[in-house]
């Protein structure tokens, strides 16, 4: 075989390898979705959403408390993270060149990379230990801490995409910088920011580790912010590591709800961004 043929063969092998790696990554994805759907669907019924968990041995039962708990925890996280994240994002995009903006950007990326379990330990030290009480507030604080950097960076990126002429137009009409940003630039980027917030919510709603010792878990239905509260993720974890067959079924059903929610949000967000792009004629 001459040199050229060998090089061509090597090249084809390489192309084949790259295509193969794509399949290799899609196989686990397909397997996960397949098992979550087929194993979870059997235990999903209306009762799963409206009933409380039952003791081992009694068939049926649901995760009403965990579902409400998850919604409350992500709601609390959003209340904390959206204002801080959006305004911090405004600062980073408005004063993009300043040294402090670079520091904030670095802090955001650092915070984004902190393992979720460490965030949990931090939230425990700040929001559980002083009050000697696991609580929904502490769980919301942990999730909110994770959300802030995601929202800040999303807002920054999207504000930078707003054409300079929009801002300049407002400034030329005599608007102050604050007015130009909050009445003109921010609204222009709003649909994208909302999409980003939804994605951030979906992501923290799937978190377990930061909740293990902040929101803890609760077998009962509660909406009290100062009490421990159940969540879908922690409930799935508890059921998954239990030795009971019934509970394993419930865990799969919980996972199906989680996956549907998270993937549904990603899909919606993707459709929304595509729509936005078309609207802006890109």
């Amino acid at each position: 075989m001459n040199a050229l043929a060998r090089r061509r063969l090597l090249s084809s092998l390489f192309v084949g390898f790259c295509a193969f790696t794509v399949l290799l990554a899609l196989v686990p994805l397909a397997f996960i979705l397949f098992f979550v759907i087929t194993k979870g669907i059997g235990s999903i019924s209306l009762g799963f959403f409206t009933h409380m968990p039952l003791p081992v041995g009694e068939p049926g039962g649901g995760m009403a408390n965990a579902i409400v708990g998850s919604l409350m925890l992500t709601g609390l996280a959003a209340v904390m993270a959206v204002p801080i994240g959006v305004v911090a994002g405004v600062y980073m995009s408005e004063y993009a060149g300043s040294r402090f903006a670079s520091l904030v950007r670095f802090a955001a990326d650092t915070l984004n990379g902190v393992p979720s379990i460490v965030i949990g330990v931090f939230a425990y030290a700040v929001a559980v230990l002083p009050f000697k009480q696991f609580s929904a507030l502490a769980g919301g604080f942990a999730l909110g801490t994770m959300m802030i950097p995601i929202i800040a960076r999303t807002t920054e990126e999207l504000l930078l995409l707003v054409p300079g002429s929009v801002r300049e137009g407002a400034l030329a009409l005599g608007a102050t910088r604050a007015r130009a940003v909050f009445s003109v630039v921010l609204p222009a980027a709003l649909p994208g920011i909302v999409t980003g917030v939804v994605l951030a919510l979906a992501r923290v709603a799937g978190e377990t580790a930061p909740l293990l010792f902040t929101a803890f878990n609760n077998r009962f239905f509660t909406t009290k912010l100062t009490q421990p509260i159940s969540s879908l993720t922690v409930q799935v974890f508890t059921y998954a590591i239990s030795p009971y067959e019934d509970w394993h079924h419930q865990a799969w059903a919980g996972a199906l709800v989680l996956v549907t929610m998270v993937l549904g949000c990603s899909l919606l967000a993707r459709l929304a961004t595509r729509r936005l792009e078309r609207m802006h004629g890109r």
């Binding site: 990326d109 393992p115 965030i119 802030i148």
Partner: protein
């Protein structure tokens, strides 16, 4: 007048931005404060001893460091070729029509919650791994890498699941890096008569700093991953080279034992493990950011949402 109001705006929004910096500092300070008891008592022996005995109050974190590093390095060894292959296929080889769907599908891997990976790991992957382990021929089983009973639960399962979870991160950033490599690099290679592989190799060479950054970003993710690993690694604080052996990671021991830690020293020891995990991931992530930024300033900033939108708008 306008000028002073602008200063008000700058200070007002700056205060919110400051919150991010404060949180990062607070994490470091709080973790040091709350682990001080353990730091003071054990000093560096904490990181050199293997005994983890809460009952007699002896804490050595070496098995957890070992488990974390071993599982993450194994995961990288599996994930890196796959992730790079995906990045190259999507950005260099595949038809334009397939590009968006493939990006979407690989990013879905990152959207699946860790707990779901764990659940799938326990009930689907671990039995498969156990089968694989028992079907290895005996001579192979004599090697130190494959010693011990084939439980399924253990290092191999943890490394595999971590690899799957890390792939989307590494491949997404590598794709951005490849996109930042000037087209002229490839055209020059083709003009010299290069094959496709050789042209891509030239592009990879040009982007090597960013690619290393992408791999390190994956490493940072693997180090801190908690739930899925906790559920499949077997949770046994014993150092072993064997892929079959149940082991333990830093994140997993915190997740499992934190609520059981009855006395202050035990809690302090666990928080110290958290502190070190924080410091290690901080260093790894900062390094990877620097490397990635030097190549593609926007890549990997906010992984999920805007990566998609900013990319499409660019």
């Amino acid at each position: 007048m306008n000028k002073s109001r602008d200063w008000g705006f700058r200070l007002g929004t700056g205060a919110f931005a400051l919150v991010l910096v404060l949180i990062v500092c607070a994490i470091g300070i709080v973790l040091v404060r709350d682990s001080w008891l353990s730091i003071e008592k054990f000093g560096f022996t904490f990181w050199r001893t293997e005994i983890w005995d809460p009952v007699s109050g002896e804490f050595g974190a070496l098995p957890f460091i070992w488990g974390t590093l071993y599982s993450s390095i194994l995961a990288l060894a599996i994930a890196t070729p796959v992730a790079l292959g995906i990045a190259i296929f999507i950005s260099e080889l595949c038809p334009a029509m397939l590009r968006q769907p493939l990006v979407f599908l690989t990013e879905l891997l990152a959207a699946v919650p860790s707990i779901v990976y764990g659940l799938w790991g326990i009930f689907v992957m671990v039995p498969a791994v156990r089968w694989l382990e028992t079907s290895l021929p005996d001579p192979v089983r004599q090697l130190p890498f494959f010693s011990g009973p084939p439980l399924g639960l253990g290092m191999l399962s943890a490394a595999l699941i971590l690899a799957i979870m890390v792939i989307p991160f590494t491949s997404s950033v590598s794709r951005e890096v490849l996109k930042a490599v000037p087209l002229a690099q490839r055209e020059a290679a083709y003009a010299l008569g290069a094959t496709r592989f050789e042209a891509i190799r030239a592009a990879l060479h040009y982007g090597r700093t960013g690619i290393v950054g992408a791999i390190m970003l994956g490493f940072g993710r693997a180090l801190g991953e908690t739930m899925a690993v906790t559920m499949v690694i077997g949770n046994n604080p014993k150092i072993s080279l064997s892929l079959f052996a149940p082991q333990y990671t830093m994140a997993a021991v915190i997740a499992n034992e934190f609520t059981e830690a009855a006395d202050a020293l035990y809690l302090g020891a666990l928080i110290e493990i958290g502190l070190v995990l924080f410091v290690i991931t901080l260093i790894v992530n900062s390094l990877s950011r620097l490397l990635i930024w030097s190549m593609a300033p926007r890549a990997g900033a906010t992984f999920e949402p805007p990566a998609a939108s900013a990319e499409a708008a660019a």
